[in-house]
């Protein structure tokens, strides 16, 4: 602790002092940093870093460990069983079906989630009177929790819900469409919820990026006779390209681990016979079912989810670099 006497007599910059702290060299550090005893940061970081280590780092290492054991959801850590859990997954058609569902989910959601919020942001970027009101209004879907949104959309998409009733009144269909029960229908309905709820959030990210686009580029393009659509593709899109790839990565990670929308729209079942189950739903049901569940198999699925996320992340980075080079 830096006491008053220390302050009155600051340590001289002798060679010994610099040797003692070779990495911090002393010169570029301010006084407070030089007076701080070595144990002080440890004391301050004990709790925060401890929590991060206990509830993020340790569980991550533990999930890898658990995936090689036959742990049960009820108690204990189980015995080492080698690659058995991974073999089980590889031979489980339900698992591959869940992977397929999650991947299809990402493939459908990502392009739309990259493009639509950008259009919305372009609509909201100009500072016209009352724009703050519209920005806040448009943000309401994003602050509504997924549970609330899913319950509201269930009311629209039910067999006798608003959408089916309207379509039947218009004589477009004679039988209600199975929005919440059909294998792909359920997934597409959930995608609609994801998109609708995520739009305003990514819109705000794009608004931030748009405000950094040099306005003289727009003026120059307008002078050259470029219309609004031309300006969008030649000025706006290149200007927010970095944000577009960030949104792409974020939404891809989000889609692969999708859970709540599909779970709630199907009232927990994942569709008839669970055939619309996503990867996260599979992990939960395999890992935690009190009678048939195996924490080890669920953990193997979790490791797969992590590797899938990591793989997609690295792949998108590579694609980005390639696009930059061209």
């Amino acid at each position: 602790m830096a006491t008053l006497t220390d302050v009155k007599r600051p340590p001289r910059q002798t060679e010994r002092a610099t040797k003692k702290r070779p990495r911090t060299s002393g010169k570029d550090l301010n006084g407070a940093a030089r007076f701080r005893p070595a144990w002080m940061p440890l004391l301050w970081l004990l709790a925060p870093i401890g929590v991060v280590a206990a509830f993020y780092l340790y569980p991550f290492l533990n999930i890898i460990f658990l995936s090689f054991t036959d742990a049960s959801p009820l108690s204990g850590n189980g015995d080492f069983v080698g690659l058995e859990n991974y073999q089980f997954l590889a031979n489980d058609p339900v698992f591959w079906n869940a992977v397929l569902n999650s991947v299809v989910y990402a493939i459908c959601v990502v392009p739309l989630m990259v493009a639509l919020p950008l259009l919305l942001a372009v609509l909201l970027k100009d500072h016209i009177p009352g724009i703050g009101f519209f920005r806040s209004l448009f943000y309401i879907p994003a602050i509504s929790s997924l549970v609330v949104v899913s319950l509201a959309w269930t009311a629209i998409l039910k067999d006798n819900g608003t959408l089916n009733t309207t379509l039947m009144d218009l004589q477009l269909i004679s039988e209600p469409l199975p929005f919440l029960t059909g294998r792909w229908f359920l997934l597409f309905s959930a995608m609609a919820v994801t998109l609708w709820q995520g739009l305003p959030y990514y819109m705000v990210l794009y608004l931030a990026a748009l405000s950094n686009v040099d306005r003289s580029l727009y003026e120059a393009a307008a002078v050259d006779g470029a219309g609004p659509i031309r300006r969008f593709f030649t000025v706006t899109v290149p200007g927010v390209r970095i944000m577009m790839s960030l949104v792409g990565i974020l939404t891809m990670i989000g889609s692969i681990k999708i859970f709540t929308e599909v779970h709630l729209l199907s009232n927990g079942s994942g569709g008839i016979g669970g055939e619309s189950q996503t990867l996260t739903m599979y992990i939960r049901s395999v890992g935690l079912d009190p009678t048939y569940g195996s924490l080890g198999q669920g953990a193997a699925g979790s490791v797969f989810l992590f590797l899938l996320t990591l793989g997609l992340l690295l792949m998108s980075q590579r694609l980005n670099r390639k696009a930059e080079e061209q």
Partner: protein
Amino acid sequence: MTTAALTSRRRRGRAGFGTVQGKALALRYVILSVVGVLLLGPLLLPLMAAFKAPGEPVFGQGASLIPREWSLDAFVQLFTQTEIVRFIGNSLIVCGLTVVSALILSTVGGYMLSRRGWKGRGIALVVVLSTMIFPFESIMLSLYAQVRDLGLYDTLPGIWLPMMLGPFHLLLMRAAFLGIADEVEDAALLDGAGEWHRFWYIFLPQVKGSLTVVGLTAFIAAWQDYLWPLLITQSSGNTTMMLGIAQLQSSFGTDYRVVLAGAIAALVPIAIVFFFTQKYFFKGVEEGGLKF
């Protein structure tokens, strides 16, 4: 994903390029209104059915979008026939714990992570950053086993424990403290202020905005979380609000008005908070890339 911090508030001031006037302005308002209806309709229209009187068809042929007769009957049922008060109470306890722990831990940790010149700073930062690459969904089973082994399965502290501090919050507070000049700290040191005094009287008062962002996002994340409480609770005694209203779908499937009334009850507190603290919401989104 702190790379989302691509903008500063100062720059936003001159964000408008090209002024919109006359007919173009009127057209812009028309488009904005249409898009607004499309965005809010799918949420507000179904929720309106919660105000229908008993006996009025909620769905199907002959049901109107807007209630023919406005009634609070569904809300009366919600509060008398379900344990909604308990759900709200449980959620508020979890939210309160989360906000307090997130604020304390993120400021204390963020402060020291922002100070330079001590051994282990690099390692500490790497530990925090490395947690951002794996999704919660891939560690939820081991968290479950951990909380179960602590004997906290199906308890409110069990819900709170894994979300007591988000790495985002630590990094957000670190960024806020980084913005404070070294000279300020040195001046306080010369006046004889120890580490704690400098933190409490010099640093903390300068980051009130970021503190609000951390508190708000912690509250909303805890209020809206669904997957983790679903895994770790079993009895209705520890059901949170989100779980509770989702369960109404099964217990009140025949009277969907009550389900929608529950959805409104879950939405209204957040909507009120949002309208009073909008600028912090957007600050959180832009600077921290925080998604609620």
